[in-house]
Symmetry: C2
Subunit: 463 residues, 2 copies
């Protein structure tokens, strides 16, 4: 498996016509990402691409390649696998589509690939995949033009049964918490979620695993593995094809059969898998784990500028099994001394902000009082951003101090009349390691997942 992510050399077999897809783009992606291994483009019709020699056939490349990427007509793939094996290549990414996701003929071709690869001892990712990325070594053989090539290094691995997680589909440069590895299983005729789980379990660069699955090929194996991995790192799974229609659509997407959703739900709870609900969760929920301290309890402090959002958040807390912290006497007293009415959770600074000219001077004290309270396990903050009056910097300064002072998760939601100021403050807080979500509900859901993880690691299962 490691050869797929850490190859010393890659052979690329396909068209090198200039465009948005194919070998031309892939070589460009690798160069742009700073991959330092050898790149061997293979195509009899080209001599050079992006300044790199193109070889007429696999037989002509110097030595062998640790991994080959195949982007040719589905019908020719099996023959190419044979060539790969002949050249000593054992790891192949089949980008080509037109297999089990297409039609009967495709199903047959895929079976052929499987049995052929099996007999030759090859490992296959795909077919119908956008491939892999490893941010640690610049290995980004993305076959689609993304417009950017370097991804920020981080500790989250994202794996999916869709190319929707690869660089061409998602604005990773805007994601302030980076990724370690990306893998699109495609039709997963060979390498599947279990192989990835096993690999990522031992991967020192990965601390959180986030997956999108439409099917699980070997349910018992997956659950056994996941429950072992979950004791070491959080495993987040979005399972699509939950409904009958969805399952049918998944069949024609990646040619795979879905499992009964209720069984999966129960099994997740048993195995300590953190189940996701929405597509964006795949990217957004890992950051509570990758950037924040682990939760030690479920009592949430709420610091808000507006009572309305506190009510929304408290409703969501109840849904997530979180409780609203009751402030201890010390914290309540300290807050009450700062401004009358402040000494209860949710701590609503709205009236204070309107009444006190330099309210921001008090902000660090308020944060400190809440987070220093032994009755508070985590903090949800609602921040009002404005481009005026240095407000953004004041918030950032206050948060800077928290980093070293407290070992409790803090999640923030930012609102305000100026989208630019909201984005700027979000960016700056995330830069210093505090996750920001774009709805109050998401903030609480993130804490809910952290609490679920805490329970499942403490008692060996969520249920």
């Amino acid at each position: 498996m490691d050869r797929f992510f850490n190859p010393r050399s890659i052979a690329i077999i396909g068209s090198f016509r200039e465009g948005y897809f194919g070998g031309y783009v892939m070589v460009h992606s690798l160069l742009g990402a700073g991959y330092e291994g050898s790149i061997f483009p293979v195509n009899p019709g080209y001599r050079e691409i992006h300044g790199i020699k193109v070889y007429p056939s696999l037989r002509d490349i110097p030595g062998t390649a640790d991994v080959a990427v195949v982007m040719i007509n589905a019908r020719s793939v099996t023959a190419m696998l044979k060539e790969c094996a002949d050249q000593g290549i054992r790891s192949v990414v089949v980008v080509s589509d037109g297999f089990a996701e297409r039609d009967e003929e495709g199903v047959r071709l895929q079976q052929e690939v499987v049995s052929f690869a099996g007999s030759l001892g090859l490992r296959i990712i795909g077919p119908n995949t956008a491939g892999v990325v490893n941010t640690a070594n610049g290995f980004n053989p993305c076959p689609y033009e993304a417009g950017y090539y370097k991804l920020r290094q981080g500790v989250t691995a994202i794996c999916a049964q869709t190319g929707m997680i690869n660089p061409q589909a998602f604005a990773y440069p805007d994601m302030r918490f980076g990724v370690s590895k990306i893998c699109d299983f495609g039709n997963k005729c060979d390498v599947d979620e279990c192989d990835l789980l096993e690999y990522l379990e031992e991967d020192g660069k990965t601390e959180v695993i986030s997956m999108y699955l439409e099917s699980i090929l070997n349910g018992p194996r997956f659950m056994k593995l996941a429950s072992r991995v979950a004791t070491k790192k959080p495993v987040l799974v979005l399972k699509a094809g939950r409904t009958e229609d969805g399952a049918k659509a998944s069949e024609s997407h990646t040619g795979s059969l879905a499992m009964d959703d209720r069984i999966f739900e129960a099994a997740c709870a048993q195995a300590g898998i953190l189940r996701l609900d929405r597509f964006r969760d795949i990217f957004e929920m890992p950051k509570i784990f990758s950037s924040q301290e682990r939760l030690s309890g479920n009592r949430v402090g709420i610091l808000t500028v507006t009572g309305g959002v506190a009510v929304v958040a408290i409703d969501e807390c109840a849904k997530q099994g979180l409780s609203v912290a009751s402030l201890g006497q010390d914290a309540a007293g300290a807050l009450e001394k700062l401004f009358v009415g402040l000494g209860k959770n949710p701590v609503d600074v709205g009236p204070m902000m309107a009444a006190v000219p330099n309210a921001f001077d008090l902000y660090p004290k308020i944060l400190g009082a809440i987070l220093g309270d032994r009755n508070v396990d985590a903090l949800f903050t609602v921040l009002w951003a404005t481009p005026a009056g240095n407000v953004i910097s004041r918030y950032v300064e206050a948060y800077e101090r928290l980093k070293t002072q407290f070992k409790k998760p803090v999640v923030s939601w930012i609102y305000g009349p100026d989208a630019g100021a909201v984005a700027e403050l979000a960016g700056r807080l995330e830069q210093i390691g505090f996750p920001v979500y774009d709805t109050p509900e998401k903030c609480i859901r993130a804490l809910g997942l952290a609490w679920k993880y805490r329970r499942c690691t403490a008692h060996g299962g969520i249920a």
Copy 2:
């Protein structure tokens, strides 16, 4: 009620100290929004503010005012109401806080306000409110500095039991579908959701009503009214304080008692109220109604660049009571002729995009084939945006044609590696009247609400 939204003159009683809150800001907001009525700031300590004369007391203003806004200490409000009545002012917005949301003393003060106003025949919005906005006449007396003052005119009225919907809290300039009126009820000691519903029912500028409520003061009246209004315009309601903790928090937010959530749920279904789930829904869900044709059936066509998102969308369709359309022979045949494999719903153009150099030339034909199909009632599109190759303009051109050709709702989700390109395409599509949501699930939820509305108007109730 109309005097609150269409006053010929406004008296503003409070502090005019320069800052982010209060009379200083309010006068600025009104001037910035282009309000053409008379503005009478009232405060003995000032002579002029933003070039406008300040009057020492209400008695000194010339004639009377259609509406007064009061921003003084809670304890002085009752006395000020008396002055208002003496000057013939019948409509008062009480921005001041420190009432039922604060403590026992505040509860008492609020009761005093209520009985006083009742005896004097005044109508009160608030206390503890950020007030109202009317985009038609530039009446934007926002007491908080928002940094912008003009809001785009539209057909959606947004009312809430929180100032989180007023200009200082939300980036209305970025919302491409404008609003007609905004109203924060605050503690709603007098004017409440029922008054607003009644008013908005007859308001020619309002076609959609979106509300955030923590409590409903008169359940039966609200339900009766809402069910009548819902036959004319969609009424969307986010009800917070659904859980026990949330209800308790709501009490200290606006001093109001929540109703049992299950009763509310059943009543909504009965009355044809479209219930919202998430805070952002208040702003985002109305646009399916304000910009799109009404749904005539529940069969959804899906046009996607990626199979994975289609599966996610189909799962969501099932949750929303929508079905995945089966294409008719004509449409299927036409699509299949354009590219093999295209003739089934979801229509996945992914393989075509990778294989055909000028795939975008086919886009209008594909859209036309799906929307022209009698078996398709609405369309969900997944668009891949890139700054390269004029792609954004090609999409926009294709959508331009749809506007006149088809009377079916179209909702879009846009993804891609470049956040700027995604935002640009979203902006341009919304400019020409096609709503874009930032997750695939939201697109389908919007169609789900449209379908719910269709059912409730067709049969007089959703249940």
